[in-house]
């Protein structure tokens, strides 16, 4: 038996290669994802380790510290004085606006230089660290992007917009920490210069190094004793490292799960390709299998023979897939590195035992499972089939039983029911997941129904090529429809891929349109001037200057208040209903004046408030009881809106505006230039227009969509391999038929055309059904995501759908290239001689 299997594999190598490619691609995706996850983990561990390196004891302020807002110099001194502490430094960071070459401020993070060398989270790259209050060092990336070089002047924007100048004395490379992860610019100042910048802001952590002869635990205990207060969390360096790494792992695990979901789709598609290949192979080998049964092979032996073939194929494909996966992972790291700006990060390819095991398990198990049904079919070949002269592999043609319909109906009803249930649910995530599950049931129903759909869909789709290309297309259409089960199985793989792509695309586009509509609503003004640096309000004078510009009809400044139970917006009263016009759910916005508040309807419900009730808003600098006069919605606003006067009372400390809305005089041609004349003078002011915000938003969403397209693209590629595979096998099977057609007068070109059209028909069948399902499912998901407060408008991207169909056609032509070449090359006489 073994010898027969080996001989069989050798004889059918070419036919098995294409399906092996499908499995190998799937395995490559899975291993690539796992390796990528491990690599990200490893690289983050290394980088994060820098923040914990050299640290023997760490002191954090625990929650519930009451009035203590940070670590005071006295606390730091206490730690320094604790027995066994060789050195201790406070860790802190704050946003400081860095004036770029164009005179505009951009946010950068500044940290104080640790006095203890071991406690620095960064490595000097060039020059030296700052030693005087007028010296500064910059992260190498910051230096590069801001075009700073050693010896040059660095300008930072201090409080009240006063400029402070420093001399750059060195550059450094930083590890990854909460601050550097944000990808922001990064600067190091001496502790004195740092504190001078904002004396009220206190450090968040103290780190210390143990003196020789002390263990981390001993020093930690000593520090705890010295502080004598339970508002501090004292950790040893080891504990700190552990804590940090736990966070990191869970982050990269999320990303890996996301990728694995797509890998799973690819594998399902690959499994369908394998299933189809083996079904066709078994059908083609009817006579051979029957002969084996004739000479005494048992059913079990035939079954095992087919499975053994699958096993070998799965093993081979897994090896290739595993190696490919390493490449995929390296490539993805490059791509992600390119996105995140960490292009200089080393590419790592860690291979763990788990990865290898999973690769083989997935590759082999999927392949063998996919071959089980065909292998069972092989056992049903009667020995007498060997004696039949005409080999007819039109297996089980069109005998599609009532059972199939029944099963499909059950799945369909179940799917529809689940979707309806999901749509009725409250919230955002739950309805999406339930409806999503429902759509998958519907997809399964369509898959089961597949062979019945092939006939009608083929007739409809075949009409155009028949009219265009005549006889070859007519033959192609007949061929595509001759074995509905085979065609259905071949196209199903593509259908799944296209369904997911179309679904994601519809949801993404709906989200995009909705977001754009919201931007329009949110930015009713022509321009909105905001601050480029978070936490740094715009000066009040700016609003007055803008109002004085002749082209400007009206300005409306807003403020931002951080309350203890939400955040609120302050708006000038005359902007209400004009530059600021939310949908009023109940109450009247006109009643908004000092001592009253309009609440976001969603927030009001959460807090159990209604029009007429009162609520106390408390900020860091004040508190006031406010009467609710209106519930508003429709805008992505804060939790509530108050007048500027109320805002000033609640927070008398901060002066300045969060944003200034600008409305131009009607018919002004060059309004932007007029506004810019004012804002250019202010380093903080940035002009936003609805159009620009939309462009930014769309760019982000398009990036995400492109990423998902790329991920699901692999499943589609595998599906196309499936089409090429089926076509190749069909061409082999139809060698005599092709020879007959050639003898009867079909030219080589027409024969090729015939196969190309057949390929296109199969691809379009999968793509068309997939698109219909995907768009429908996208609609369902979008509706499920919509809630009372956020209505998503379903948008069908016809352009992108057109691109997908065109891509399917192009890919189909490519898939048909090899089989068509092969068919056309076979000589008529040789073809006729084929048994």
């Amino acid at each position: 038996m073994l010898r027969t299997i080996i001989a069989g594999l050798r004889a059918r190598t070419a036919r098995l290669v294409l399906s092996s490619v499908a499995i190998a691609l799937g395995v490559a995706f899975v291993t690539g994802t796992l390796v990528l996850g491990d690599a990200m983990n490893a690289s983050m561990r290394d980088e994060f380790a820098k923040s914990a390196r050299g640290v023997d004891v760490s002191v954090y302020l625990s929650g519930g510290g009451g009035d203590v807002k940070g670590i005071t110099p006295e606390t730091l001194e206490k730690v320094r004085q604790a027995p066994g502490v060789a050195g201790a430094d406070a860790r802190a960071f704050q946003q400081v606006p860095l004036i770029a070459t164009n005179g505009k401020a951009k946010p950068a993070f500044a940290v104080p230089l640790a006095a203890t060398e071991e406690l620095r989270e960064y490595d000097l790259a060039d020059g030296r660290y700052p030693s005087g209050v007028d010296e500064i060092a910059a992260d190498v990336r910051t230096a590069e992007t801001a075009k700073l070089s050693i010896g040059k002047t660095v300008t930072l924007l201090g409080k009240d917009d006063q400029k402070r100048e420093y001399t750059l004395v060195g550059t450094y490379k930083q590890g990854v920490g909460e601050v550097s992860m944000s990808g922001n610019d990064h600067l190091v100042l001496t502790p004195e210069a740092y504190t001078a910048f904002n004396p009220e802001r206190l450090p968040y952590q103290v780190v210390a190094v143990a003196a020789d002869g002390f263990t981390q635990q001993q020093v930690a205990d000593n520090v705890r004793k010295a502080l004598g207060s339970d508002i501090y969390t004292v950790q040893t360096g080891e504990q700190l490292t552990e804590d940090t790494l736990r966070q990191v792992s869970s982050q990269s695990a999320q990303f890996t799960t996301f990728l694995l979901a797509f890998a799973a789709i690819s594998l399902v598609v690959a499994a369908m390709v394998i299933y189809n290949t083996f079904t066709i192979l078994v059908a083609q080998r009817t006579r051979e299998l029957a002969l084996m049964r004739c000479v005494g092979a048992s059913r079990k032996q035939v079954f095992r023979g087919v499975l053994a073939e699958a096993l070998v194929m799965g093993l081979a494909a897994s090896v290739i897939g595993l190696l490919g996966g390493l490449g995929v992972s390296a490539l993805l790291q490059k791509v992600i590195g390119g996105f995140g700006g960490g292009a200089d990060a080393p590419v790592r390819v860690p291979v763990t035992a788990t990865t290898v095991l999973v690769a083989f398990a997935v590759g082999v198990v999927v392949t063998v499972l996919a071959a089980v049904l065909p292998a069972r079919k092989a056992t049903r070949v009667a020995p007498v089939a060997a004696l039949r002269s005409q080999l007819d592999s039109s297996e089980e043609v069109s005998r599609t039983g009532k059972l199939r319909v029944l099963f499909a109906v059950l799945l369909g009803v179940g799917g529809a029911g689940t979707i309806l249930m999901g749509m009725r649910m409250e919230g955002e995530e739950a309805p999406m997941f339930v409806s999503g599950a429902g759509t998958m049931l519907l997809l399964a129903a369509v898959l089961v129904l597949g062979p019945l759909l092939v006939g009608p869909v083929n007739r409809v789709l075949g009409a155009l090529p028949r009219a265009l290309f005549g006889v070859p297309a007519k033959l192609a259409s007949a061929n595509a429809g001759r074995n509905p089960k085979r065609t259905a199985a071949t196209t199903a793989a593509l259908m799944i891929g296209v369904t997911v792509v179309a679904m994601v695309t519809v949801v993404a586009n709906s989200a995009k349109e909705t977001a754009n509509a919201q931007v329009d609503q949110r930015l009713p003004a022509d321009y909105t001037v905001t601050s480029s640096v978070y936490d740094r309000p715009l000066p009040v004078a700016l609003a007055e200057q803008l109002a004085a510009v002749p082209e400007v009809a009206k300005v409306a400044p807003t403020t931002q208040l951080m309350g203890d139970r939400g955040y609120f917006t302050g708006v000038s009263k005359d902007a209400l209903g004009d530059l600021f016009r939310p949908t009023v759910e109940s109450g009247a916005l006109g009643d908004l004046r000092e001592g009253t508040i309009a609440l976001n309807a969603g927030y009001a419900e959460e807090q159990g408030l209604a029009v007429g009730s009162t609520t106390t808003v408390k900020t860091g600098n004040g508190s006031q009881e406010l009467k609710v006069v209106a519930l508003i919605s429709g805008q992505r606003l804060a939790d509530g809106v108050v007048t500027l006067e109320t805002s000033a009372k609640l927070d008398p400390v901060s002066d300045g505006y969060d944003s200034i809305m600008v409305k131009l005089e009607p018919g002004v041609a060059n309004g932007r230039a007029a506004v810019e004349k004012i804002t250019d003078a202010s380093p903080l002011a940035v002009i936003d227009s609805a159009a620009e915000t939309k462009a930014q938003l769309n760019e982000q969403l398009d990036k995400v969509l492109a990423f998902v397209w790329a991920l699901i693209g692999l499943a589609v590629v595998i599906a196309l391999f499936g089409i090429a595979n089926t076509l190749t096998l069909s061409v082999l099977e139809r060698t005599r038929e092709s020879a007959l057609l050639r003898a009867l007068g079909l030219t080589k070109g027409q024969l090729r055309l015939m196969l190309v059209v057949e390929s296109i028909l199969m691809a379009l069948m999968g793509a068309a059904i997939g698109l219909v399902l995907g768009v429908g499912f996208g609609w369902v998901i979008t509706k499920a995501l919509s809630s009372d407060t956020l209505e998503l408008a379903v948008t069908i991207p016809f352009g992108q759908i057109g691109v997908m169909l065109a891509a399917a056609v192009v890919a189909a032509v490519l898939a048909a290239a090899l089989p068509a070449r092969r068919a056309a090359r076979t000589s008529v006489v040789a073809g006729m001689a084929e048994a």
Binding site: S394, K474, R736, E737, L740, L744, G745, T747, G749, Q750
Partner: protein
């Protein structure tokens, strides 16, 4: 030589001169056709006979332009075909030649009628409806036209193949063991029809067979052995063919 052919071109449907076909190379080379010159008259039913490996099928393939030759020439209705490219050969086949093969004559995806009209469709020609009806009625296929090949018996399938071969009124019909897969009664029906198409409809038929009974339906039998012509029999009977074959040592 070509002058001779054009002289008698009016009555000669197919002519081969000094035809050579070699399979393989070097020591293993086999001369399947070793200088075969033969003419087939229009309006006659000729059988090519010979033992296995005699080169009779190769001869037919070369005559019909299905295979290329290594030497010599083939004329069909006055056209030299050995110099034609694949495209022209294909056109020639669909316009001027009809085929009936031993088995697998029909496309399983098409109905009997579509199979019959396939060659014409490929050529982009409109079928002569009257001629089509005549053939279909003579072959008794009227009530089978809408059937797929799998729903037809072996004899019916071969009759559909005959109809397809004749419907385009070709210069010549090549039949390669047309009865090889049939029982004797169905075989006789097909042979009767081929003979009738020659006698009554004026067709030219060249048939390759190894069955003396089948050969006896022809007007003339061309005998082959080892790639050479090995004799001819006019107005053959099963017995005369059989004895001639015995003589060849088959």
């Amino acid at each position: 030589m070509s002058a001779l052919v054009s002289d008698v071109g009016i009555r000669t449907a197919v002519a081969a001169s000094g035809l050579v076909k070699v399979y393989g190379k070097g020591d293993t080379a086999v001369r399947a056709l070793d200088g075969v010159s033969v003419e087939f008259q229009a309006g006659r039913f000729t059988a090519i006979m010979g033992p296995s490996g005699s080169g009779k099928s190769t001869l037919m393939h070369c005559l019909a332009g299905l295979d290329n030759v290594d030497g010599g020439g083939v004329h069909i209705g006055g056209t030299e075909i050995t110099s034609l490219g694949d495209k022209d050969l294909t056109k020639l086949r669909r316009d001027r030649i009809g085929f009936v093969f031993q088995a697998f004559n029909l496309l399983p995806t098409l109905t009997a009628e579509a199979n019959i009209l396939l060659g014409l469709e490929l050529a982009g020609r409109k079928p002569d409806r009257q001629w089509f009806d005549t053939i279909v009625d003579v072959l008794g296929l009227r009530d089978r036209l809408k059937h797929k090949p799998t729903e037809l018996s072996g004899g019916q399938q071969q009759r559909v193949a005959c109809a397809r071969a004749l419907v385009s009124k070709p210069d010549v019909v090549f039949a390669d063991e047309p009865t090889g897969n049939l029982d004797s009664r169905s075989g006789a029906e097909v042979l009767d029809f081929l003979r009738m198409s020659v006698r009554k409809l004026g067709q030219t038929v060249i048939m390759v067979t190894h069955d003396p009974v089948a050969a006896s339906y022809a007007d003339r039998v061309v005998l082959m052995a080892d790639g050479h012509l090995a004799g001819e029999i006019d107005s053959p009977t099963a017995d005369s063919v059989l004895s001639a074959l015995k003589h060849l040592g088959a």
